[in-house]
């Protein structure tokens, strides 16, 4: 029996933009469907439309039939949390479903253990990190066995352990008959388990089965990265560096690929920290942490959920005061910060107004926006969004807009907290190119990210934050147990091909 059956579904927002056009698909028990598509293509809208209680306002046509119960995970981790007590939040859906008390308690223990978050049980949700919130909400969904599970980018903020736990949990849930729909840019791991893939594209939305995927290249609009991942996950398990390079070349025909040696730039130290110690009332976060960042260096800050990555960035920005130790910023350097939830950096009701307000306050010329649009393909979609309210943006669009704003105000050191988490694959590559272009012009980066793919493509150095202090690696030496897949090994092995922007004549930024 079909768990869900959608026929000719269309959705139009009150503003008049039709975001989903005559979409039809059905899913049987235990089937999984992956939603792929560019930022702002309607993935979240579709997921929310499928859950009656949270359906977005707008005009809908066609029919949606759902047999059984459903649960949804929102993209924004703050949206999923209701209570202050983590445990209360965990069991809330289960209690509402009328599950017996004994079962709830037993399941809660199981789920907490599986996701490795038993230590979060008694925590106040206000003190949880973004990733911890996301695991908690995910765990609370697995307390129940709904007939349909709707997940909006569940992997975006998870560390590797939590990702593995999630994937491990997904199989038995599927076998128990739960149909799953997942919107996710990080498709590597999920593609193997998915029976169907729904691809949103400009020419129309199509649902593909596994058989279709095998001949994927036959479809003109088929995103290239699906083909690559298809090849990687379904056929080639062990492939050589050469093959990896070829595959990577194949996925990005728009950009020329020039091998760049992964050498650290030989610049002056622009930002350094010595023996930094910091603790929250209940928790020691940083203990005698030292680091130094050179001009033009791209450093990736890695670490488990709740390790203190965001805290370190906020400390550097001066939002917190270190208990001991010192942060040194070279003269003439200015810090720019992209927060994990970029929504707080928007102050006006349209992006256009917001940008001009920002430029006016910083006494900069108003035509700077045009220059940025011309230079980086990442911001192409933003032009159409200029008159819209940032609060209505999709996750990926919001991230792009926040990055755009950050580049408007000439900062020389950029601290980015999970900037790529909601970006689609194409945007992520364009973003990676942008970072490298800026770094070549002397801008330094500290980037927090949970995407090894993004890290291996972009990083000069990798900082592992563990136990409150930092260990520095070169990317080619950095192999935590979770990143041992062949793709990453191949990418990181030697002088990997980093993508460079095609227009070689771009002048260095700043």
């Amino acid at each position: 029996m079909n768990v869900i059956c959608v026929k000719d579904f269309s959705f139009t927002y009150p503003q008049g933009n039709t975001i989903i056009r005559s979409l039809s698909f059905d899913l049987e028990k235990g089937e999984m469907m992956l939603l792929c598509g560019k930022n702002g293509c309607g993935k979240s809208t579709l997921l929310r439309s499928l859950k009656k209680e949270v359906a977005p306002k707008g005009k809908r046509e066609g029919t949606i039939e759902i047999n059984g119960s459903s649960q949804i995970l929102f993209q924004d981790c703050d949206k999923n949390i209701i209570f202050r007590s983590a445990f209360e939040d965990l069991i809330f859906p289960a209690c509402n479903s009328g599950m017996p008390e004994e079962t709830i308690l037993q399941k809660a223990d199981e789920v907490l253990e599986l996701f490795g978050i038993s230590h979060l049980r008694d925590r106040d949700t206000a003190t949880l990190s973004g990733g911890e919130k996301q695991i908690l909400s995910l765990a609370s969904l697995f307390m129940l066995s709904p007939d349909l599970l709707l997940l909006d980018e569940p992997l975006a903020q998870l560390d590797e352990q939590a990702k593995a736990a999630f994937l491990q949990k997904l199989k038995p849930v599927q076998q128990a008959g739960t149909a799953i729909i997942i919107a996710e840019h990080n498709t590597d791991a999920l593609l193997e388990q998915a029976q169907k893939v729904l691809i949103f594209s400009e020419s129309g939305n199509e649902v593909f089965t596994k058989e279709d995927l095998a001949q994927a290249r036959a479809f003109p609009d088929f995103p290239d990265y699906i083909c690559l991942e298809q090849k990687l996950t379904l056929s080639v398990k062990d492939f050589t560096k050469q093959e990896a390079v070829e595959n990577l070349n194949a996925i990005k025909p728009r950009l020329t690929i020039t091998p760049i040696a992964r050498n650290l730039p030989e610049g002056n130290t622009v930002l350094s920290g010595e023996q930094l110690t910091f603790s929250y009332p209940q928790k020691q976060v940083l203990s005698s942490l030292s680091f130094s960042l050179k001009a033009g260096e791209i450093a990736f800050l890695n670490g488990a959920n709740g390790a203190g990555k965001t805290t370190l960035l906020e400390l550097l920005c001066g939002f917190h005061q270190a208990k001991t130790g010192q942060v040194r910023l070279s003269s003439g350097q200015h810090l720019g910060y992209l927060a994990q939830n970029p929504v707080y950096s928007f102050l006006q009701d349209s992006l256009q107004k917001d940008c001009s307000f920002l430029l006016r306050q910083n006494r900069l010329e108003q035509n700077k926006t045009e220059a940025l649009f011309a230079r980086y393909p990442l911001f192409e979609d933003l032009k159409a969004l200029l008159p819209k309210n940032p609060l209505d943006f999709s996750g990926g669009e919001l991230a792009k807009a926040a990055i755009f704003k950050l580049l408007l105000i000439d900062r020389t050191i950029l601290l980015l907290d999970e900037p790529e988490k909601h970006l689609d694959r194409d945007s992520m590559e364009e973003f990676s190119c942008l970072i490298k272009d800026l770094a070549a012009g002397g801008i330094s980066f500290i980037i927090v990210s949970h995407s090894p793919d993004f890290m291996y493509r972009t990083a000069h150095t990798v900082w592992q934050l563990e136990g409150g202090s930092i260990t520095t690696y070169r990317p080619q030496d950095y192999f935590p147990a979770q990143c041992q897949t062949s793709l990453y090994q191949a990418i990181a092995a030697t002088e990997l091909p980093l993508f460079a922007v095609q227009e070689a004549e771009v002048t260095p930024h700043g």
């Binding site: 209360e88 306050q361 609060l391």
Partner: protein, 291 residues
């Protein structure tokens, strides 16, 4: 609606109930008695005893109570709370001798009014009583905690308790988003070039507007999330997380026994009893810190 149990589970992890239900290794918690190990009801009974002692005690007893409660608030770093009650206490201390002139022991006479020792004593008593009541309630807050308070409250007013719980969370969220917005504005150089007061006010109003907008949006999200998680469903499970355990009974028995001695007339019995009764929060607080 009537059966919801949203606020029943909160500190379940620390209570004895868990150790019994799941058979987990909580032996450490079991050996040591601390605030969170107590059933909220047991704590409330104990607190009622404390309050009765406060109101029953003579001036000497109150002095002892004050010393212990103040020591507790110092140890919990909440001594600043006393500043709230201090003006009122001082007021009583001064006003009593001025307006009350009865009593046997006349100390001195001024403008035909007798200033008596009894009036001053009364003033001291009222001031101490105010301070002690204030400190005791502050101790109740520390010992019970927000979640356990809501547990008791929620037994009688489940709907309101849920709302209160969400309001608490929302205040957190409000504060957080205000700091975030302001911090981001600073980082983005929004403040840098504001010279005049008018300009500063204008910028601040922009920031305030943005932050309230985001906060409103946040409250809509919470409502959506509530309904997505099935809050409006009819059949719900109640989790009776706090259970009376032997330790709770022992605690009540011991405290009540001591409490009885407070009513003995001789000072050498009632004063030590009062002291021991008010020493308990200090001990509980200390053992919680060590945990």
């Amino acid at each position: 609606m009537k059966n919801n149990n949203y606020n029943k589970k909160s500190i379940y992890g620390c209570s004895f109930a868990e150790a019994n239900l799941t058979g987990k290794k909580h032996t450490k918690t079991m050996k040591k008695l601390h605030f969170t190990a107590l059933h909220p009801g047991a704590f409330l009974i104990y607190f009622t005893e404390l309050l009765i002692t406060c109101f029953y005690s003579e001036i000497a007893g109150l002095a002892v109570i004050f010393v212990f409660l103040f020591a507790f608030s110092l140890l919990q770093k909440k001594a600043r709370m006393i500043l709230w009650a201090l003006p009122l206490a001082l007021f009583m201390l001064v006003l009593n001798p001025i307006f009350y002139h009865g009593g046997q022991t006349v100390l001195f006479t001024l403008w035909d009014f007798n200033f008596t020792w009894e009036a001053i004593e009364n003033g001291i008593y009222s001031a101490l009583l105010i301070l002690c009541t204030m400190l005791a309630f502050s101790m109740l807050g520390t010992g019970l905690g927000e979640e356990r308070f809501l547990y008791i409250f929620g037994r009688f007013f489940p709907k309101t308790a849920l709302m209160v719980s969400m309001i608490f969370k929302h205040f957190d969220l409000l504060g957080k988003s205000y700091t975030q917005t302001k911090n981001m504005a600073k980082m983005n150089g929004i403040y840098d070039n504001d010279k005049s007061l008018w300009q500063k006010l204008k910028t601040n109003s922009v920031i305030f507007e943005a932050f309230t907008g985001a906060a409103l949006e946040g409250s809509i999200d919470t409502a959506l999330s509530l309904s997505a998680k099935g809050y409006y469903s009819k059949k719900k499970t109640r989790i009776t997380s706090y259970r009376f355990h032997v330790s709770d009974f022992v605690f009540i028995a011991v405290t009540t026994t001591i409490f009885v001695f407070v009513f003995f007339k001789p000072l050498y019995i009632c004063l030590p009893a009062t002291a021991v009764l008010f020493l308990i929060p200090i001990l509980l607080g200390r053992s919680e810190e060590r945990k």
